[in-house]
């Protein structure tokens, strides 16, 4: 295990160009080379980040601006990090081909390797269902489940092969994932593990990530098409909106507690918010060109963006609490 500290190097408040007066943008520098891929809010107010190129979980304290990192194991290269129902950090660690749990109180690290015959799966992202089962995707063409109580890991082959990427749980605990190379939204039957493919109306859209709003509607960031799309499982409908700009590339998507949709456009080096009520986009610049934000997550009143290209975390404080 290795620890180091990094003090706050960048803390900028941008008052201009914000669509709502209450919103503030702040940027924090992380240890050089950390390559924060994903981020998740820790229960104590800190932020966790997957330090992919350090093979570590990062623990960042917004109050002090200090970050430290805890190594996850040999060859570790975590892609995703989420907060589990147990208050621990759960990482999808492509380097170890394993699911990793980090206990914030004891700092114990527990590793569940995928079955040996699975081979390298390029583990991507995870979500918990309503029964506490941990579901994960692997971009090489798999998805799977881990029962934290028994430790049993099951792996399933994805329809259309390679591509499983973002994954989310709806408020009623159902689990959906998207396939980047397969360009589909999939619903997992949590009992059998089977996937029902839900084809979007835009062919070859390149579904990168997916997030549920409070009504259980699925919002999808489409990399190839540059669209934001939404599927409503209640009536089977789809809607899509083209991101502004000449050549948008929609990477990450997240829906906040007000059902405002957030996404990152690599074509414009910008963060966008989208209000489903008005169907209007608002744009926020990332901290630098090539910031490469690959995921978004937050807590009420805060939306966090890990900048893998600059080793920074950016936060937008929305001024909302619910």
């Amino acid at each position: 295990m290795r620890f180091f500290r990094c003090s706050l190097a960048v803390a900028a408040l941008f008052a201009a160009a914000l669509p709502a007066a209450a919103q503030q943008v702040q940027v924090y520098q992380l240890p050089a080379g950390a390559y924060p891929h994903d981020v998740a809010p820790a229960p104590d107010g800190k932020m966790w980040y997957a330090a992919q190129k350090h093979g570590a979980i990062g623990i960042f304290d917004p109050k002090t601006g200090e970050a430290r990192e805890v190594k996850l194991g040999p060859k570790s290269a975590p892609h995703g990090v989420i907060t589990g129902p147990d208050g621990a950090a759960w990482l999808t660690d492509g380097g170890q081909n394993a699911i990793v749990r980090f206990d914030p109180k004891t700092e114990e690290i527990k590793v569940w390797k995928l079955p040996e015959d699975t081979g390298y799966t390029n583990l991507n992202t995870a979500a918990f269902d309503k029964d506490g089962i941990h579901w994960f995707t692997g971009q090489n063409g798999i998805y799977g489940r881990l029962d934290p109580k028994s430790g049993e890991v099951k792996v399933f082959k994805a329809p259309k092969g390679r591509g499983p990427y973002g994954i989310t749980a709806t408020p009623d605990g159902e689990v959906y994932y998207v396939s980047l190379a397969g360009s589909f939204l999939g619903k997992i039957d949590r009992a059998t593990g089977e996937t029902t493919v839900i084809e979007p109306p835009t062919p070859n859209q390149g579904a990168r990530r997916v997030w549920s709003d409070s009504k259980g509607r699925l919002w999808v960031s489409e990399w190839n098409s540059g669209n934001l799309s939404m599927h409503d499982p209640k009536d089977g409908s789809w809607k899509a909106w083209r991101l502004p700009g000449e050549k948008p590339r929609n990477y990450a998507v997240y829906v906040d507690e007000r059902d405002v949709v957030w996404m990152t456009d690599w074509g414009a080096d910008a963060v966008l918010s989208f209000d489903p009520k008005t169907e209007k986009f608002a744009s926020f610049p990332m901290s630098a060109k090539g910031a490469n934000v690959r995921q978004i997550l937050g807590r009420p009143g805060e939306v966090w963006f890990p900048e893998s290209g600059t080793d920074r975390l950016m936060v937008i404080r929305t001024g909302a609490t619910q």
């Binding site: 080379g33 891929h37 093979g55 390298y120 799966t121 090489n140 063409g141 591509g163 490469n292």
Partner: protein, 125 residues
């Protein structure tokens, strides 16, 4: 010092020469989610097709949007030699800073040798 460097270089070349394409197919799983070696691949993947990559001009697949970093690297280095590919696969970010390829690299030299042997063995169209 020179002798050591030569020995290290020889050792590196020897390791690559011993690369096993059959084992390399397993190593290719590191690349598989974003790359193909199928010249007829229909899926839109996030990385370029690797058919004939050894010896190919860098950042030269028609229609593929390479990062500015890789395009600049191509202007400097020209083509993918085995040595250059080996260095890149070992540590992409160090060899091409700001590359958008989100991959930490393959640490073991023999595994990289297997991978390169596999890539070389793939039939060209």
């Amino acid at each position: 010092m020179t002798m050591l460097a030569v020995a290290a270089l020889f050792s590196c070349e020897a390791a690559r020469a011993a690369g096993d394409p059959a084992r390399g197919e397993r190593a290719f799983q590191y690349c598989y989610s974003c790359h193909t070696v199928d010249p007829n691949e229909k899926a839109t993947l996030q990385g370029p097709n690797l058919v004939g990559i050894v010896g190919r001009r860098i950042a030269a697949q028609e229609g593929f949007e390479y990062s500015p970093a890789l395009r600049a690297f191509a202007r400097e280095h020209g083509a993918w030699s085995e040595d250059l590919l080996d260095r890149y696969v070992a540590d992409p970010e160090t060899v091409v800073p700001k590359t958008t390829m989100a991959f930490r690299g393959v640490e073991e030299a023999d595994e990289r040798a297997d991978l390169i042997a596999y890539l070389k063995a793939q039939p060209k169209p």
